[in-house]
Symmetry: C2
Subunit: 113 residues, 2 copies
DNA sequence: ATTATATACATTAGAATCTTATGTATATAT
DNA sequence: ATATATACATAAGATTCTAATGTATATAAT
């Protein structure tokens, strides 16, 4: 993510969640999809993306298959069974954390607006 | 934060936001307040807290005054003018990021529940 | 008496995750 | 000939965290 270093650690969750609605995706496609979905507000850099993909593969959450398309290599990633479970876990963890964070960040006068 | 390493970079925002509703706070007090507000779900470790406080002070967002209480040293932190402005900025940035994140993490069938 | 816990500060080693820069290679548009 | 897009990847350095350690006082428990 090239912009806000505000929140680190969300990249894995983003990747896994995207995979949930796409049978397979390759790295470059992920960067473009995220840019498209967020109107350019989140830009995933290669230096963050590829290590994250390699790690998710090493952890058994993603598998790969390489294809040649237009004389260029594409490495497609897909969710494994384990990966499918992990998506739900990671999303739940993030929601829980954000709910907890709200307890601090929301003004006590929570009935505003 | 002892639990989720999911979200790094939110500690500064947490500290500044807490300061907004407390004229002055000392380090240990912050750890207890956060634990209390989040029912023990977020535990700030000293290794994260003190460097963060020192950095915020170095950036001119916090000032300090030391007091002796019960024969123990307490270092009180307060928001500077600059710090007061920065709270709003940081909160706005975090909200913006979370809104953007939702574009990816929320299922397309956004009308669900 | 001694040990554990609470209060209160702080630093350090190591891990994890990011940015920025660089590298290789093909294809297309200017 | 150059820039941009597509497509992979690594490496140096920065930042931010955890876990461990250190110092010191006060109090509660055994």
């Amino acid at each position: 993510m090239s912009n806000s270093q505000l929140i680190k650690g969300s990249l894995q969750t983003i990747i896994l969640k995207l995979m949930e609605s796409h049978d397979k995706m390759y790295g470059y496609e992920i960067t473009q999809k995220v840019k498209e979905l967020t109107s350019g507000e989140i830009k995933i850099t290669e230096g963050a993306l590829y290590p994250a993909l390699h790690k998710l593969e090493a952890e058994g959450l993603l598998t790969t298959e390489t294809q040649m398309v237009d004389n260029r290599v594409r490495k497609y990633y897909s969710l494994t069974k384990s990966g499918q479970k992990e998506v739900s876990t990671k999303i739940a963890e993030m929601k829980a954390f954000l709910d907890t964070l709200d307890k601090i960040l929301l003004p006590k006068t929570a009935l505003d607006s």
